[in-house]
């Protein structure tokens, strides 16, 4: 028990590896066992990450559950983990998403089953590692290692254009992160450490700081993705299998925004402030552009993918407004987007498994064929629009409120994005679920148990955050104040 208390983050991080080992060693005949092992592992992992939530100290603005061991001493690099109010919520979100990815793919993945669950477990390790790592080298290793399982998930189990999409995804993100690598090496050589907490206070400034910030920002902007480097996202999200889309939309693209919050702003405060107007502008462009692009789509997944571009625009807007309320909203919006978009991708995956079509025009009148499913979809649609009472409302409201203090004009344009959002989501709902029943979809099987169980936690979270956001906002308050205070020196 004491071991668990001292190494909780490491246990959460490496537990999936323990589960991966028997799956790896099992023969081809044991696919069902492999699935069960993966599910069981992620259940425990999720349980532990909830335990992490409960043992978090709200008043402490610094890092908690810190583990620091020497890794490469000639480079002064440590195996250094820790979470604070900014990152803590993402860890249960990640483990939950992976868990639900396992349940939603229970029947739909039919070939290379063991490999699929292995890839999911490794993705989970890489993402949790990225979220906890406080040593820049360790962070980079996890950040890059994430590409390997994602490359396979999209490329092996994806749709018809999966190979093009996965190569695009890989090369695009790889291109972005190599500049970050050079920036990290520069920081190390200048200050002799990879330790994030030590690098926070270092004096930079001038051109160096700007260039370093840009090095990091390119990697993060591609991952988020911000306009105009978003072009990999519609392809990757569309062609990925359901679980792949859920992971991509649910957590992977949040890592870019997390990177800005964790590294971009605190390490390069002056450069961040200098570039903020540009990034704010790009955010608003992303909001409007993403929304308009959604209106033109006839592909369910592509539409939701573009809506991600729009929603992530809100997140970056909240981050670069440099306002505690907006920043809280941004983090909450990341969680919301992870839940809602993840759930929407699951919903699309559910009908795709039955019909193998993603075209909106293929559907129609689905509400009378799959009523329970239609209810779920309706709630997630409304949450995506930001209806009061759902989580989407809280996030977007906080972002707009906070940004209003700093830049009123931008809020006007961003709010326009909300209206477009309502437009494309409701129109989508109308075309797919109402109108005449399309003969293509008559007699579709109702929701299966695993699908119902995968959607249910998301539904609960939609209302939990929507009705009682304090529960989640409390985690961030101290850390965000701390962050913003440091920005204004």
């Amino acid at each position: 028990m004491e071991f668990l208390q001292n190494n909780l983050l490491s246990v959460i991080l490496w537990l999936p590896l323990l589960g991966a080992l028997p799956i790896f060693l099992l023969g081809k005949r044991f696919e069902y066992t492999a699935k069960c092992i993966a599910l069981f592992t992620m259940l425990i992992d999720f349980g532990l990450s909830v335990l992490l939530l409960f043992s978090f100290d709200f008043q402490n603005p610094g890092f908690q559950f810190v583990e620091k061991r020497l890794w490469i001493d000639s480079l002064n690099s440590y195996y250094f983990l820790g979470v604070d109010g900014i990152s803590i919520l993402f860890i249960p979100l990640t483990t939950l998403t992976t868990l639900l990815c396992i349940t939603i793919s229970w029947d739909s993945i039919k070939e290379k089953v063991r490999e699929f669950y292995l890839a999911l477990l490794f993705t989970n390790i890489a993402i949790v590692g990225t979220l906890c790592a406080l040593d820049l080298l360790l962070f980079y290793v996890f950040w890059e290692a994430m590409l390997i399982p994602m490359y396979l998930i999209i490329g092996i189990w994806g749709g018809p254009r999966r190979i093009y999409s996965t190569l695009k995804f890989f090369l695009y993100t790889f291109f972005g992160s190599v500049f970050m690598l050079i920036a990290i090496i520069y920081l190390f050589l200048k200050f002799g450490t990879f330790d994030y907490t030590k690098l926070l206070g270092v004096p930079l400034g001038g051109l160096t700081e700007k260039l370093l910030f840009l090095g990091f920002a390119l990697a993060f902007a591609i991952k988020i993705p911000m306009w105009p480097v978003h072009t990999w996202l519609p392809d990757a999200h569309t062609e990925a299998p359901t679980a792949g889309s859920v992971i991509l939309a649910g957590i992977l693209i949040k890592l870019g925004a997390y990177g800005f919050l964790r590294f971009g702003l605190p390490m390069f405060p002056h450069a961040a402030q200098e570039f903020a107007p540009l990034l704010l502008l790009l955010s608003v462009i992303a909001i409007i552009y993403g929304g308009l692009a959604c209106l033109a789509q006839d592909d369910l997944k592509r539409l939701i993918a573009y809506s991600s571009v729009s929603h992530m625009g809100f997140v970056t807007l909240g981050i670069f407004a440099f306002n505690p309320i907006a920043m809280k909203g941004a983090i909450l919006q990341m969680i919301n987007h992870g839940i809602v978009t993840g759930a929407l991708f699951m919903c699309v995956g559910i009908v795709y498994d039955r019909t193998h079509s993603r075209a909106i025009s293929y559907y129609g009148g689905l509400a009378s064929v799959m009523p329970v499913y239609a209810t779920f979809f309706m709630i997630f649609t409304l949450a995506s629009i930001g209806l009061p009472g759902t989580n989407g409302f809280i996030g977007e409201f906080l972002i707009l409120l906070g940004t209003f203090f700093t830049n009123k004009l931008l809020v006007v344009f961003a709010a326009l994005g909300l209206i477009i959002g309502a437009g494309y989501m409701l129109w989508l709902y109308q075309r797919v679920f109402f109108e005449r029943v399309n003969p293509n979809i008559e007699g579709l099987a109702p929701l299966r148990v695993n699908e119902f169980l995968s959607l249910l936690p998301m539904l609960v979270l939609v209302f939990l955050i929507g009705l009682y956001p304090k529960l989640f906002l409390d985690y961030m308050t101290t850390s965000i104040e701390h962050l913003l205070n440091n920005l204004r020196f």
Binding site: K28, W71, I72, D73, S74, L75, K112, E115, L137, Y140, V141, F142, E144, A145, L147, I148, Y151, L152, G155, I156, R162, I163, T166, L167, F170, L171, F174, F175, V178, F179, L181, I182, I185, Y186, F188, L189
Partner: protein, 482 residues
Amino acid sequence: MTIELNFGVILSEILLLLVGCFIFLFDRFFKNKGYAFWLTLLSLLIASGVLLISPFGGFTLSYQNDFFSIVFKFIVLFGAFLVVILSKNYLTYHSQLNYGEYYGFLILSLIGAFLMLSSMDLITMYLSMELMSFPVYLLIALNFAQQRKSLEGSFKYFLAGAMGSVFLLLGMGLVYSATGSLFFMQIAQSLFGKAELTYVLLGFLFILAGFSVKMSFVPFHMWAPDAYESAPLPITSFIASIIKFVVIACLIKLLMVAFIPLKAKIGQILIPVVLLTILIGNVLAIKQDHLIRMLAFSSIAHAGYAGLGLITGDLIGYSFTIFYLWVYLIMTIGMFSIAVFLANYQKDLLYIPKLSGLSQISPGLSFLTLIFMFALAGIPPTAGFMGKFYLFIGLVKSGYIWVAILAVLFSVIGAYPYLRVLKFIYMEKTEETFSYRWEPGVWFPVSITAFLTLLIGIYPKPWVDMVYRTLYLYLTFLFYPY
């Protein structure tokens, strides 16, 4: 000056030479050629044991056993050990090649590599480089029975090597006329405090050109794809990993010991060469459909990456270069073991599109390929990433940020060919199937290299330290012996 004749220090070479001669002389008396394999393997093991206990010191002024040579001979022995094991398996399936001489030539080449690592004057270095290369030309040509093209590959390699030798000799002549000596230490002494270096620099550039052929630096890289493709696969891995390792290690020795004042200058000159090597290797690898040709171009690019450590002209950069070569040696031998496995079952499996759906047939093999491919592409947590990471650290440290940025950008291009191989293996389907057996001749080298690839990727420290300490101690003992 006394000339020492201490046979103790040169014992491992003598041993290998005796074994090589035995194979050449008595091969006719053995019906079953398996003896040569076991004899070679045994002699490699004994040679490593002898190396372990052999004393430091010189054998005449031209040969010296020291930290540098012993540690790097161990690396070479490790690589050769895997190559020999691989050869046994390869020869079982390609019986036209099954001569005792195959191992004899391999041992001769190995002696050349050993002598080159120990050489202390230019003539010995030149001769041992030829000793290392000639058996390899012959080994490629030996493949003639099953692949007509091998004669072309062998001849190309030979001509390129001959051209390199001409450059090397010319350079040695220039250096001799400028310094009056061919011994490293004496060259160093005569260059000490000397202001006018143009003549020596010119000489060294020719030497560098001669070495560039073996290292496959642009513009001396064109022999590589043909030679690689036509050689027996274990020999290809030998050319790609061990010969490159030895030649670059010796180049570093030259720069550290003999031509000290030229270090910085040579580094400057190498910048465009190295960058072009990386770029051309990576770009040309994109369109290759033959796995071995792809690996040949990737090998060119990797030689370029290793060359990044030479730019800075300091001990740290050199040790990173050698570390990278060590990592590359592991990855290459691993990848070629997989190629041997494929070639054993179906020759045309070496065409990348034919690899479609390999993961359905052999998930284990595909997974190992995955490790090596991502390692070659330089993605963490594999050794390939750590090797590149250290090289970039060396570059940024000396202020060559722009070189590092260009190199890192080229590595994005370079990722594509490896991803393409994985694309076929994992993302395409196949109807065909073939049955296979995991034989120790393949799984031993593959698993040991895959394990090292991951181990070094996760915990690179002891290996980097080892290389750095070797170079450091070597220089300390050479210049400040007590």
